[in-house]
């Protein structure tokens, strides 16, 4: 079969099993768009901004576990995509981004819409390619998907000059079944000796703690993690990215850890004697002050990426490998070897933990005459039975969504944890809704963040995506305001959102439904009304308490036992642990 470069590109997507291509056309990709026009295997989704194409592909990937695919033109198309590529890179999301490039003959001449896409994206991709020969397109695409989806996943950019896709030049098409690369052979199986030592260490622990992260979700290891935790009966906390890897309603679950983690999780981190980190990377939002991180603990770390191990925190037993495979092996040793934990010590440990839990750190004022954002998230949880796909933006609303939604399953919580990209939520929700047309998809956002990709309301109309946008509208860049309240003596420099649009009218202008909720008494009924409109996008503008803060909070550079707690916790605060 002889095909042109443009046709090869699209055909290779089909052969790779790609359902959706998120893109935006332009000069350098016109040949490719022509090839798209003449087929209907791969469905092209026309976004309204290239940033949204990358976030939508990213959301699709996070929800399905399959790689997201993007097509943008050269120059501004590529630069607009960079934010989304970096977002995916920071959270290790598999993605293949095809960027058009000016014709080979003029590369380097500052041609119209030329940028060095390979150079610009290099620091925020797992790998990138510039294809200079039409005969290499199929093989390069295969490599791109292979690299993006294996090992520690990540985005891969394929830059394709226009002349390479020329419809007049046809070459034989062969999509390779398999590819091997001598320079890239990700490790899968963990070292058995290390695994045995780790299990011994765990079984001898008196105050153990399990800390799991996004790697468990990405590595499809939630089932293995559940067995592991239940086999041991040890407390488990997860990172922001790991939410859903273990069911939030389970009694062994302690809530999230880190900057906005629960009191009990952070206190237990500080006091534990053995810590096992599973598919987590000791991010600074998790560790707080490095010098005081888990001061008494021996640390075991399972990760597929050797460079994540002992990067910031030195560990005692490193295990490089696929998390699911390593956990299976651990579970096997624990269940078959008649192995016992130190039952008495563990019971005593749970007593201590339950004392911390009694503080009820997630309490908030339930009698306020203002709408509390936490209540809004809790009601969304109830209405959706905790089974929705929830995307989010960045700010206070993101933390409240993480803290109060209660994720039971993996791949349901979709947020930009690593890069913290405002504008992520709505386009990511589009990717999720396309993948799962019959599921409930909620975007919990702020009035600041939603305006960073608001144009996608138009895309949602075009493809009939019935996303529920829940805007926790505090008329502030709330997270910025919170830091200014705490650390800048309430000097609210440019964190107030003036001249906000009427979001109800805005939603209507885009052809959707808008609902505003201002009174706490209307909160439940308003949200019920929104979710009852099954096949419509509903923008719910919830006017929330402007001054509400996210608690608990560990200030930057403080240790886990130095939390700032909500004034609504059950026990009075220990004044020595007050934030200065």
């Amino acid at each position: 079969m002889e095909l042109s470069g443009g046709e090869i590109l699209i055909r290779s997507l089909k052969d790779e099993g790609v359902e959706f291509l998120f893109g935006y056309p332009g000069g350098a990709v016109l040949h490719i768009y022509d090839a798209i026009y003449r087929q209907d295997d791969v469905k092209h989704i026309l976004v309204r901004h290239e940033q949204a194409a990358t976030h939508a592909a990213d959301g699709y990937a996070r929800a399905t576990g399959k790689p997201g695919v993007v097509l943008v033109t050269s120059g501004p198309g590529a630069t607009n995509a960079v934010t989304g590529i970096a977002t995916a890179y920071m959270d290790s999301i598999p993605m293949v981004v095809i960027t058009g490039q000016v014709p080979t003959a003029v590369i380097g001449s500052d041609a119209f819409q030329e940028v060095d896409a390979v150079g610009i994206t290099r620091p925020c991709v797992k790998h990138n390619f510039l294809v200079k020969d039409v005969n290499k397109i199929a093989e390069t695409m295969k490599k791109a998907f292979y690299v993006a989806t294996t090992g520690r996943p990540g985005p891969v950019v394929v830059d394709i000059p226009k002349d390479i896709t020329d419809p007049a030049i046809k070459v034989p098409y062969n999509y390779p079944d398999k590819i091997t690369m001598r320079s890239y052979q990700p490790t899968v199986k963990g070292h058995s000796g290390q695994i045995k030592r780790a299990v011994e260490m765990l079984l001898n622990a008196k105050k153990p703690m399990i800390y799991s992260g996004g790697g468990v979700v990405l590595g499809n290891a939630s089932e293995e993690l559940r067995s592991f935790v239940r086999n041991l009966g040890y407390p488990i906390t997860t990172t922001l990215m790991g939410l859903g890897s273990y069911p939030a309603s389970d009694e062994l679950f302690m809530g999230m850890l880190g900057m906005h983690g629960t009191y009990e999780s952070n206190m237990a981190m500080h006091a534990c004697d053995v810590l096992i980190a599973i598919g987590a990377r000791f991010d600074d939002r998790v560790t707080g002050k490095i010098a005081e991180f888990c001061p008494d603990a021996q640390i075991i770390h399972i990760d597929i990426d050797p460079s994540s191990i002992s990067k910031t925190i030195m560990v005692d037993i490193p295990i490089v490998g696929d998390v699911a495979t390593v956990l299976q092996e651990m579970n096997h040793i624990i269940t078959t070897g008649n192995k016992q934990t130190k039952k008495k010590d563990i019971d005593a440990w749970w007593k201590v933990i339950n004392g911390w839990r009694a503080k009820k750190c997630m309490s908030y004022d339930k009698n306020s005459d203002k709408i509390k954002p936490q209540a809004a998230v809790e009601i969304v949880h109830e209405i959706t039975k905790g089974d929705a796909y929830v995307t989010s933006d960045v700010g206070q609303h993101q933390m409240w969504a993480a803290q109060y939604y209660g994720f039971e399953k993996p791949n349901r919580w979709i947020n930009s944890g690593g890069l913290g990209t405002m504008g992520f939520g709505l386009p990511a929700a589009m990717g999720v809704q396309l993948a799962f047309p019959d599921e409930t998809v909620v975007c919990i956002t702020g009035e600041g963040s939603i305006q960073m990709c608001i144009q996608e309301l138009s895309t949602c109309l075009q493809y009939g995506l019935p996303i529920k946008i829940i805007a926790l509208n505090n008329r502030y860049l709330g997270m910025v305001r919170q830091w200014q309240e705490f650390f800048y003596k309430e000097r609210y420099s440019h964190s107030y959102m003036e001249s906000l649009p009427d979001f109800v009218k805005l939603a209507e202008a885009y052809g959707h439904v808008g609902i505003r909720i201002e009174d706490p008494a209307d909160l439940r009924s308003g949200l019920e009304k929104a979710f009852a409109l099954k096949d419509r996008l509903v923008f719910v503008d919830i006017v929330t308490d402007q001054m509400e803060n996210v608690y608990p909070m560990i200030a930057h550079g403080k240790a886990h036992n130095e939390m700032h707690l909500s004034p609504h916790c059950d026990l009075p605060q220990d004044p020595e642990r007050e934030l200065s």
């Binding site: 390979v118 150079g119 290099r122 620091p123 797992k126 790998h127 510039l130 690299v147 690369m181 001598r182 320079s183 890239y184 990426d305 050797p306 460079s307 191990i309 002992s310 990067k311 030195m314």
Partner: protein, 164 residues
């Protein structure tokens, strides 16, 4: 500690910039870097001299290994190895006294004077980075007009080889 890291990398466009970009993005200290083709034309050899604590060097080698184009990597400083660097130095040699002293120093360090004008000598010298440093120090009394160092090349001693 100073480490000599030897890398076999795919001879692809942009491969070098991935290595260099890594050092700048992660703020690692690099003392010298050399790149050249190998006997296998699909591979290039990069030799990097990097300075850092053991933890930093470990991160550097892990991050380099993570680059998709890197085929193999060896920290030569982990075992017995040979290190060589070449330097070309142009030094002022106008008087008989200067000429005599520079010639003597060059002989002591087993350098060669490879170009001569009425006012200067150009010396070629090969040795470990430290030897090159010592030679430059030894020339302190003279006016060095230009120094061109090649950066370090290294190879393991004995049977150990870095190959694919």
């Amino acid at each position: 500690m100073r480490h000599i890291i030897s890398i076999l990398i795919e001879n692809e466009a942009g491969a070098l910039s991935r290595v260099v970009g890594l050092f700048s993005a992660r703020a690692y200290n690099i003392e010298s870097l050399t790149v050249a083709p190998t006997e296998d034309e699909s591979l290039s050899r990069i030799t990097i001299v990097a300075i850092g604590t053991d933890q930093i060097i470990e991160q550097i080698t892990k991050q380099l290994n993570k680059l998709i184009d890197v085929v193999k990597l060896l920290d030569l400083s982990d075992g017995p190895h040979i290190e060589r660097e070449m330097v070309l130095i142009k030094v002022k040699a106008a008087t008989m006294a200067q000429r005599g002293d520079i010639k003597r120093l060059s002989d002591i360090f087993r350098g060669h004077i490879i170009d001569v004008t009425t006012s200067n000598y150009t010396i070629e010298l090969t040795g470990s980075g430290r030897k090159v440093d010592s030679f430059i120090e030894a020339l302190a009394e003279h006016k060095i007009l230009e120094t061109v160092r090649s950066g370090v090349s290294g190879i393991a001693r004995g049977d150990k080889i870095l190959h694919v």
